[in-house]
Symmetry: C2
Subunit: 327 residues, 2 copies
């Protein structure tokens, strides 16, 4: 079913205001939850809201906390998130990285003790909408085996790069696993095979069977050893920059809370959009695998989905919607 964006946001806000969120924080978090569903990332919009509320009630997310600055060196600032809501901290961090970029061309904020930011792309769009290049990444609880290993020891550590463009920002928002467990669960519920191998079965063979991957917990990192290495060094970077929890420390704590994140902004006075449009057109000029499936630049589908949601309402899963209304 479909719900108008404003109504969805208002329902999130109503619930958050019962949970010791200030009006400002409730506004911001409700908007981001609604935008994530609006942009088609329902797994980090409506569908994730019950878990978010549970974490708040358990004290893993502290709605009344505020992040603090713990250090500044040139254009790099270090923060402690004090376990405030991840979306609130992340929005403030990217905002501050933009201000540091105003003063230095490039700015960086590294934060420890923060919480799940829901959709990483949110903060890429935030920077690009304001005209900045934005780069950010986070660590997570362990959910992917390292290359050569069977048990999960790496996070899927989403990595975001966003570049502003008049005709639509270009935004990559990618986790280091080929498919999230949310997506794998969706295919399992629909009794469908994954379109491409997403992990290993009990015999150690690559498989498209979502149930087999849920059983082994051996989800595939993108590009096999390459995504494994990239996931690990993003965690190393976050740990080096923040002194906060690594994937190891998050996992050992038993809850995905107190994660580490990094936000980098670049102020680029001349964006060379004509050259960028040329490279997009060139990329799209490749002969197609499926004549009806055009090649898209990163972010293009998000924009199309956003437009559709604003015109016809945001698609919601009815069960989660009823759950929200009953909260």
């Amino acid at each position: 079913m479909r719900i108008p964006f404003d109504q969805l946001q208002a329902e999130f806000e109503r619930v958050l205001l019962t949970l010791a969120f200030t009006k400002e924080k409730a506004d911001l978090c409700a908007r981001i939850f609604a935008e994530n569903s609006r942009d088609g990332v329902e797994t980090h919009g409506l569908n994730r809201f019950p878990t978010f509320v549970k974490f708040v009630k358990e004290g893993l997310i502290r709605p009344d906390a505020e992040p603090i600055v713990t250090g500044l060196l040139g254009a790099i600032e270090r923060w402690d998130g004090n376990l405030a809501p991840g979306m609130y901290n992340a929005t403030l961090c990217m905002d501050r990285a933009m201000k540091l970029a105003d003063d230095n061309g490039i700015g960086c904020v590294a934060i420890r003790n923060t919480n799940h930011w829901m959709r990483g792309g949110t903060y890429g769009w935030q920077a690009a909408d304001a005209g900045y290049i934005g780069i950010c990444f986070t660590n997570t609880i362990a959910n992917v085996p390292p290359w050569g290993g069977i048990e999960p020891r790496l996070g899927n550590n989403p990595f975001v790069i966003a570049v502003p463009r008049q005709e639509g920002n270009i935004v990559v928002d990618m986790a280091m696993s080929q498919y999230s467990y949310g997506k794998i669960g969706q295919y399992a519920a629909d009794k469908k095979q994954l379109p491409l191998p997403g992990g290993y079965d009990k015999q150690g063979n690559l498989t498209t069977d979502p149930e087999a991957i849920r059983e082994t917990q051996r989800a595939l990192p993108i590009g096999f050893w390459k995504g494994s290495g990239l996931s690990m060094i993003l965690d190393v970077l976050l740990t080096a920059l923040t002194g906060g929890k690594s994937v190891a420390a998050i996992t050992n704590s038993g809850n995905e809370s107190g994660v580490s994140q990094c936000f980098i902004c670049i102020k680029n006075p001349i964006m060379h959009e004509a050259l960028i449009n040329e490279l997009i057109e060139y990329t799209k000029s490749s002969a197609l695998v499926e004549p009806d499936s055009p090649i898209r630049y990163p972010g293009e589908s998000t924009l199309a989905r956003r437009q559709e949601s604003l015109e016809t309402g945001v698609h919601v899963n009815e069960r989660y919607w009823q759950e929200l209304l009953a909260m």
Copy 2:
């Protein structure tokens, strides 16, 4: 066969000095070619040297050129490489990014009109050996199809992240294709299948057959649509930051020359090495797929290979070695 490192470097230098390289530039480029072979990246060491010399002779690489600074905004500097040797330009850029990081915590140099830097990892190790976090990336000629396309329109755009560590730097150096054509050619010459799917056959099926991939030119981006998107946005970033040639412009020029690159350095006073070592140990604690194949952190194998090369000589392909001696 194996050759002492110094002898290999001396042979490169001897040839470069016949090609209008100053002593300083010949030294630097010869050292990097020899180090690439020493570290096991022979495809961008000895095996690539004949192509490098050919490009110099054709005027695509200009040994007498010097890069110039075209702009400075805070901690970001823009350069024009003037088609000087890529390894020379890249070394100067990373060096300058470190100095900018000394002053600003973080520094960035974006360069256009430069040339192939051979092994990207070289500049990651350069930064990490000096105690800095280093991030760099380059574009290339089109050699990977975008997701949904058949014809190559994206570069494999290598991406490097390096973090210094007492017990061995952690360095990711990854191209956006699952296997390079150099590697695919090696498997074809050895009449072996790739260990994992590396591209598509004529029927459009994923395949491990190197000959089939050479025929279709449909090499696989890492993580399917994810590597395709990451490759594209790295090219967008480079084009936005430098105003130089994108993958489209490089490919249309007919030669992989005049590429664009970006170098970012971070000065991080406290590296939190104990926490990093903890996360490495945690990652390695996963049960192994193959009991005799331990999990390695990115850069670990490079260091082991380097040690072996320094003790027993650098492994060289005899044909290329004879070719070098005859130059």
